[in-house]
Amino acid sequence: MSRFRIGFLPLVDAALPIIAHEYGLADKQGVSIELHRDTSWATVRDRLIYGQTDAAHLPAPLAIATSLGLDRPAVPLAAPFMLGLNGNAIAVSTRIAAMMHLDSIGDVAATGRVLAGVAQAEAEKGRKLRLAVVHRYSSHNYMLRYWLAASGCAPDRDVEIVVVPPPFIADALAMGEIDGSCVGEPWNSLAVMRGDAVIAAATSQIWNRGVEKLLAFRAPAIDERRSAIEALLRALHEAGKIASDPACAAEVAAMLGRPEYIGQPAELIARALGNLLILRGAEAPTPIEDFLMLHREAANFPWKSQAMWLYSQMIRWNHAPAGQRGFDEAAAVFRPDIYRSALAGIGAILPGASAKVEGAISSPLGAGSHSGRLIMGPDRFFDGQLFDPDRAQDYVASQAE
């Protein structure tokens, strides 16, 4: 049996490989999974590129940065399968929440403006807000920066953005090391449960269909182990059905909560799977539309336009050089061709296109697919901007200060 050692961080969006292993779905496809948990993204990435693992749960921008060789020699990675869309939240310390008079999470644009005001006031007093993201090259970083910038707060000037690995975020909020954070679950809810933070926004409000984690392989493995990788992707696709089935939620949450996986209370994980968040203290859970999408709407399909949007933000924040070549290289990391080939003939939705205009859908819309019926839900950015991958350079120019 072909074995895949898969690296992951303890997060709810590591669910699919864990479910594929625990529910015997990998076995059914003739592959086996061995999971390897770490505490920081640099470690997960390095185990993959040094050959200690065969695949890794990674933030999409980190896979792109690794392939393009930003800050280090390039190691080409390939991403034929996304592990979900959305799933992160922005929490602030109770002190900042009080200054923001946060009472609801409904209007993310209004919340952004209030946060920008507080950040400004604190910066003038010489106490710039310290906001944590989980890695320099993370969707968390780009989504937070996008929201701040569109709310009138310059991320590199008005606040300080620092890096804290997900398992340390709740402690960092508790100790006053940071004033806020953007991280996946259950780490926001843990800080809320302990009374150290209030959830101010979910990233699904900033971008309704935000690109998030992917399953990365070393690029040569795609050819060397093609049929085994395709079998693994089929197992992950089946795992998605279980992850998004409300009837399985309690059982899945209990399993993910075990010490060898996330190691946190199952109730926190169950809420994330059910698109619910407790925003503060002992409040009742608030439904958050599309908070975490692990399966439906072909959420696992690697759209090249998602990679290109991320690259546009890397240029925007001086993380990567401008120019079409970088866009092309970023898009090449995403492998929709492998996704289609792996999931053909098993009733999965196979989108016909490999790229789309991001942010263009405001109400559910049928989209072209080779098989299956694909209804795309709203994918808007909160400020109404569109990202057209054919005009990526114009988008970058429009965002330049």
């Binding site: 470690t43 390095d46 320099r136 340390f168």
Partner: protein, 179 residues
Amino acid sequence: MIEEGLREAGFSDIHVLLERRGLVAKLHSLSPDVVLINLENPGRDVLEESFALSRALARPIAMFVDQSDERSIAEAVDAGISAYVVDGLKKERIKPILELAVRRFSAFSRLRTELDEAKSELADRKLIDRAKMLLMRRRKLDEPAAYALLRKQAMDSGRRIADIAEALITADTLLGGQE
């Protein structure tokens, strides 16, 4: 164990940092010649961010990994900037590894500096081209004359031609030119 190995290898100025908090600040104040870190250390993301933000503060890193085979060591050497992977904690191997880490770091830094210089040269040339166009249009000069004017101004004021070009473009924009 590592510390002992380092002392035996003749290194004396060794600082062991155990706290995740304040790691970057401590590193900045110590300004070490080389950082040794375990692959699994949770501070690594923070270090990467810090070194990416300020190349002046970046330091060579040697990385320790347990239970690695020869193949993954070879891959790590190919993949790393300055990272090197050690199988276990063999004391006699520490010194050559640290030296290699420093050499690889210097090589990568040099490569990047050259790349940056090439990029800024390109940016300079673009500025000079725009300033020339401006002079050609506003002063009805031909290209050699426009360039000569920029060069003369630069020589007279002891500044770079690209700086003069930039100042000219800025001034024209402020004065409402159709640049």
